[in-house]
């Protein structure tokens, strides 16, 4: 009897491991192995068919820090990150707060509207914004007819305005997405908690900072990590909205790496791998910092 019990347990244990195997193998082969390969390739140089070790080994990395264009792509990516992510998350929080009011009518309608941009792909909305802000586009038409602009302005042809439009487009696409997280979190907070705060004489500002923010902290941290992660990997918008232009002034890191790997007539796998490993380290560091911040405040 005892023996039989043991063999059943062993069978169950084995079944458990079998269930994990396909997913585990795929992650190892499709994520972990390639990232190690990327690290190795980043020390190599030459055309993809005849690659050899770089000498000195760190040559690609030395080159990276001297590459003004790559540094600009890093700068652009961080600009999008620093400007866009806070505005987006604050706006998402405000919207979630408003929509969580139990006296508000047409809640479902408003929520659907704000959430709607998530229904289109990144390429689609990039092309929509590209068309809206084209020199002969609707935005110019509206701004000139109401007299704000004297003549059509080439929004995507000037570095400053092109960056602003990427940020506006990102805000449009992702604010509703983050709002959904906050709304789900807010709905998880018991209404009685707020009632109690009200009885204790807390105003809505205090209620927000003393109750909502601490209770939503895990959600807020997660949206931060996701947004940072997403922004560091921006690609579709840079490629399709501005093509990285004008004169590479809006190019992102991923876009530049893509151009170095699969751009027309270029296959600089060694150098591109060094750049991509740099992005990997950035993503890992920022994720670690975020986790740490999340932990110590507890």
């Amino acid at each position: 009897m005892k023996k039989k019990g043991k063999s059943i347990q062993a069978k169950q244990q084995r079944a458990g491991w079998i269930y994990l195997t396909p997913a585990t193998l795929l992650i190892f082969v499709m994520s972990f192995y390639p990232i190690i390969q990327a690290l190795i390739t980043s020390f190599r140089t030459g055309p993809s068919s005849r690659m050899k070790w770089a000498s000195p080994l760190t040559w690609n990395y030395t080159r990276m820090f001297q590459d003004k264009l790559f540094m600009r792509s890093v700068g652009n990516t961080f600009l999008y990150l620093i400007v866009q992510v806070p505005i987006m998350l604050i706006l998402a929080m405000i919207l979630a707060q408003i929509l969580n009011n139990k006296d508000l009518k047409f809640k479902g309608f408003f929520r659907t509207c704000v959430f709607l941009p998530c229904a289109v792909s990144l390429v689609s909305y990039s092309l929509i914004f590209k068309s809206l802000f084209a020199t002969q586009g609707l935005m110019n038409h509206i701004l000139t007819s109401i007299g704000i602009l004297k003549e059509n302005y080439n929004f995507l042809g000037n570095p400053g305005s092109a960056k602003a439009i990427i940020i506006i487009a990102l805000l449009w696409r992702w604010t509703g997405y983050n709002m959904v997280f906050y709304l789900a979190g807010l709905q998880g907070i018991e209404y009685s908690v707020y009632e109690a705060a009200k009885i204790d004489g807390a105003n809505s500002w205090q209620t927000f900072w003393r109750i909502t923010v601490p209770l939503l902290k895990p959600t807020i941290i997660m949206t931060f990590i996701m947004s940072i992660n997403g922004t560091l990997q921006l690609f579709d918008e840079s490629v399709n909205l501005t093509s990285g232009g004008p004169a590479n002034s809006t190019i992102t890191m991923s876009h530049y790496i893509y151009n170095n790997s699969f751009g027309v007539g270029v296959a600089n796998f060694g150098y591109a791998s060094a750049l991509s490993f740099f992005v990997f380290i950035l993503v890992a560091i920022l994720a670690a910092i975020n986790m740490k911040v999340g932990d110590t405040r507890d």
Partner: protein, 275 residues
Amino acid sequence: MIKKRGSVVQRRLIPSYIFLIIISFISVFPLYWMVTAATNSSVDVARGKIVFGTKLMENMRNLLAGQDLWGAMKNSFIFATVQTLVALFVCSLAGFGFELYHDKNKDRLFSLLLMAMMVPGVATMIPLFKMMSRMGFLNTVMGFMLPAISTPFLIMMFRQNSRNFPVDIMEAARIDGLSEFGIYWKMFFPVMKATFAAAAVITFMNAWNAYLWPRVVLTDKKAQTMPILIANLSAGYVVDYGMLMLGVLFCSIPTMIIFFILQKQFAEGITGSVK
């Protein structure tokens, strides 16, 4: 008395309503404009026409003349559907195993797998491209989906959501002679239907909208998906806005339908493992 209080409350909410109306308008307008632009000529679009026009068929003819629209739609449908089915099976099985058969070693493995979340797509694209071309998977559904099947996000989603799975019933089922896989198929799957639905919606959407990796692995025009097709539409020097927006509309119709019918599942799919 109660009515009066209600109207006071509603009056206090007027700024909220105004704010929501403005944000809703901004959110919806670009998509409304995209649909109208698909029915107008490029000249009218540039002139700022924002009502529906009569040039839909003309735009359609132009689009079909230059692009293999139906081919790309078919590719997108097949690739996204196959990826969704396989990813759901692989990740639900893993989530099931991690949660309901868990022990210390499996928990350690789980933490290790979570680290894959930090690996950016752009960093693995070159090695994966080499791997796929060695295996002959370029321009195939295998090449398209293999890197996207097993994600920590989906595994975690299934794991977290099976926290409340009735473990006692599993014991009872075993005594009744149900095999371990029978427990997954006959018990786990029906109980977890809501999670499967949410996971299916989010996976399909992601697969349909994917751009960077498909652009790398689908080098042949015959294998291109909708996002690649519409990206190519705008690459020329002169852009036909009517035709471009019609292409964007085609790319967006399936995901918009899913959004409107399965919005709840979509929202659950996005928030996924947060519980």
